[in-house]
């Protein structure tokens, strides 16, 4: 066999070995790699009281209530199947609004069935357009 083909075959085996290793490592770590859980996943999961976790979903329309002179905010997020109530004390990101995707970090209070968020991050979607076009689409 020519040396060139020998080197080529060696590389193919090398590449396959690395690829399968990476595949299995990522598969095993899947639970850890996801950035947040949906409300449905939280319901079906055995989450302990003091575990710091992240939940993500869309802010439910008309669910935002400010309390304590606007310092504390209550709202619900949904994944279109289940929803979860969240309470948060602090500054919200500019993109926070009804219907927006958000990710909250904190722990769940099992007794009250409410998620106590320490941090709220806003997601934005893959659509980019000028405001006028967005208005046209909405009407």
């Amino acid at each position: 066999m020519k040396l060139k083909y020998k080197r080529f075959n060696f590389l193919i085996i090398f590449i396959l070995a690395i690829a399968s290793t990476i595949f299995f490592v990522l598969k095993a770590l899947e639970e850890k790699i996801v950035f947040f859980y949906s409300p449905t996943e939280i319901l079906n999961k055995d989450v302990k009281l003091n575990d710091t976790i992240r939940v993500g979903g869309l802010v439910v329309d008309n669910s935002i209530v400010y309390d304590n002179g606007g310092l504390e905010v209550f709202f619900a997020i949904t994944d279109e199947k289940n929803s979860l109530n969240i309470s948060y004390k602090g500054i919200l990101p500019d993109l926070f609004r009804e219907g927006q995707g958000i990710v909250a970090e904190g722990n769940i209070d099992t007794a009250k069935n409410i998620f106590l968020a320490q941090k709220v991050l806003a997601k934005h979607d893959e659509n980019y357009m000028p405001p006028e076009i967005e208005k046209m689409i909405r009407n």
Partner: protein, 242 residues
């Protein structure tokens, strides 16, 4: 393809095309980036959600594309070097590293500045951001190997194999937003269902991307020419196989 590779793996022949191309690439990139910046900063509309902040995209996204593209090029050249032992491809791969480091850093830096006003944080450990940070570290590793071995062909093989292994990170970066849920939004251009960016924003985005691409080619051609000339004069720092 193979015959084509053979023909231009010859440094003298390579330089004969590289020289006239170099000047054109340099001027074109300067011109396109200037036009692109004018479009990006003045003529493109604000976004419906993010308002003016969206203008960071015109640097961030092309820089990220370039980081991935340059890495793919380094990986490809390294494989060609490992199989066919064309020294020119190793020189091409090595001379691309520094530009790649700079583009990767720019993408991370502008992304962080963009993250604060939109997401509410400079950094999170989600799959996209983390895999991109790993790309930056791999680039730094390549740079380190490239600079540390001066008189051994072992360095060349260490470089080529690291470049090859790091290549597995590219699909992970690209599909991280589809495989796992992340804070980073999914792809807007190469995705099922078509482009989801309005045309007025696509024009400056593609202009900047083309400008960056030409800038990379320009810098690469200049550095390869310097490298080849140094080699010819006999005081080359890095040695490429005996």
């Amino acid at each position: 393809m193979l015959r084509y590779l053979h023909k231009y793996a010859n440094p003298v022949r390579f330089l004969s095309i590289a020289r006239p191309m170099r000047k054109a690439m340099g001027l074109l990139s300067l011109f396109i980036i200037l036009v692109g910046l004018v479009f990006a900063l003045f003529f493109s509309p604000p976004d419906y959600q993010q308002k003016e902040t969206v203008r960071i995209m015109y640097i961030h996204v092309p820089a990220a594309w370039m980081s991935l593209m340059i890495y793919a090029f380094i990986s490809f050249s390294s494989i060609v070097f490992l199989v066919w032992k064309f020294p020119l491809f190793l020189i091409l791969a090595k001379e691309s590293v520094t530009v790649g480091v700079i583009f990767t850093f720019s993408a991370l830096f502008t992304g962080s500045l963009w993250g604060k006003p939109t997401w509410g944080t400079y950094w999170v450990w989600d799959a996209r951001l983390t895999s991109f940070l790993i790309l930056f570290f791999i680039y730094l590793g390549l740079k380190l190997i490239k600079e540390s071995f001066s008189h051994s062909s072992k360095g060349d093989y260490a470089f080529a194999y690291l470049a090859l292994i790091g290549g597995f990170n590219l699909p992970i970066i690209k599909f991280s937003v589809d495989w796992w849920n992340t804070l980073h939004q999914p792809a807007s251009i190469i995705r099922t269902g078509g482009v989801s960016i309005s045309n007025e924003m696509l024009i400056p985005l593609f202009l900047m991307a083309t400008g960056f691409l030409f800038l990379f080619i320009y810098i690469l051609l200049v550095s390869v020419e310097i490298n080849l000339k140094k080699r010819k004069m006999g005081y080359s720092k890095d040695k490429i196989i005996n």
